[in-house]
């Protein structure tokens, strides 16, 4: 088990068996977060979803 905090609301977050690049949800504020490293466990706001034209 690893402990870290949400970069958006600073709530404490416990995570188990996650992978780098995995998207997790903050249980307090509900924002999507990306696991960017495991040792130490670090989270960043997950990539934005941007809309554009294209086909």
């Amino acid at each position: 088990m690893s402990l870290t905090s949400c970069p958006e609301c600073e709530a404490a977050i416990e995570l188990n068996d996650v992978l780098v690049g995995e998207i997790v949800v903050c249980p307090d504020c509900g924002v999507d977060l990306e696991v960017i490293s495991l040792e130490p466990l670090q989270l960043e706001l997950a990539p934005m979803e941007e809309e554009d034209w294209g086909e």
Binding site: I23, E51, W53, G54, E55
Partner: protein, 346 residues
Amino acid sequence: MDEVTLLEGLLRSYSPTAAEQLAVEFLAHAMRGLDFQVEVDAVGNAIGWRGEGGRQIVLLGHIDTVRGEIPVRREGDLLFGRGAVDAKGALACFVAAVSQLTIPSGWQVVVIGAVGEEGDSRGAKAIVDRYWPDFAIIGEPSGWDRVTLGYKGSLLLSYRVEQPLAHPAAQAENAPEAAVAFWNRLTAAAAAWNEPYQRTFDQVTPILRQMQSGEDGFNGWAELWINLRLPAWFAPGQAFIELSALAGAGRLHLLDAVPAYLGEKNTALVRAFLSAIRAVGGKPAFALKSGTADLNLAAPVWGCPAVAYGPGDSNLDHTPNEHISLSEYRRSIGVLKEVLNQLMQV
């Protein structure tokens, strides 16, 4: 052959839909020179592969472009030419990245330059049953630091209504007026469907493509060609049923239907892209596209993690100013190499 010579050669091989042979021959020759095994299949797709094994990654690009040849030229870092963005940049990125990898035992990486994507996707339709990849990447411009997770669906249909002619002063609804009334009912319904949704990706977008009308002395007629861009929550079949209920005296005829596709974020494929983009100093983002692509067609059949990726600004798709930044093109090759290396360690 270096990566810029490869892209420039593809651009010089002008290949509008249904006339791709020159570019297919160029790509097949280039891939042979880069240590791929190569075949040109029955519909004209250029297919190259490296490695042998039970696990497979398919990189599906398209080699056709829209019409309108643009003289190939360089201006500093920019390379101009039809298809620079949509999507020879992505296809050349695939070939260059795979050519620079050591493919581990047990893995095969396949690069496909498919024909017909700007038309009826006949190239992709011909290969979807030939491959069962573990991961799929579709070659479309996302920008080097973005990953495209989804494309909207599309429903193309015609609406035809006929009415007996009456004297214009009789104030009876004529066929053109009936067609306009149907279009107005359709747009009102779309506005109601869209009410809960903020994003264009989640909304129904009606587009009136063509309208004609005429009369033969006894009857008048009017015809509309309509394209509905569909969100993931609205299947083409359901949309057709809903529109049929609005058709009044007219009849709808289905011309083409493609469901929307929205891929998962929590897959090994997406994780590999996020870490590869961050590893070269980028801030990754996800893209959701309002058009359709071969991703819509192939991903549901293959059922594996699938995204679209490629260098370039899709705002330049289909424009007379189509060009790509060579430095972005090189960065996308670096990202893709890292992604493929990570996937083949799984």
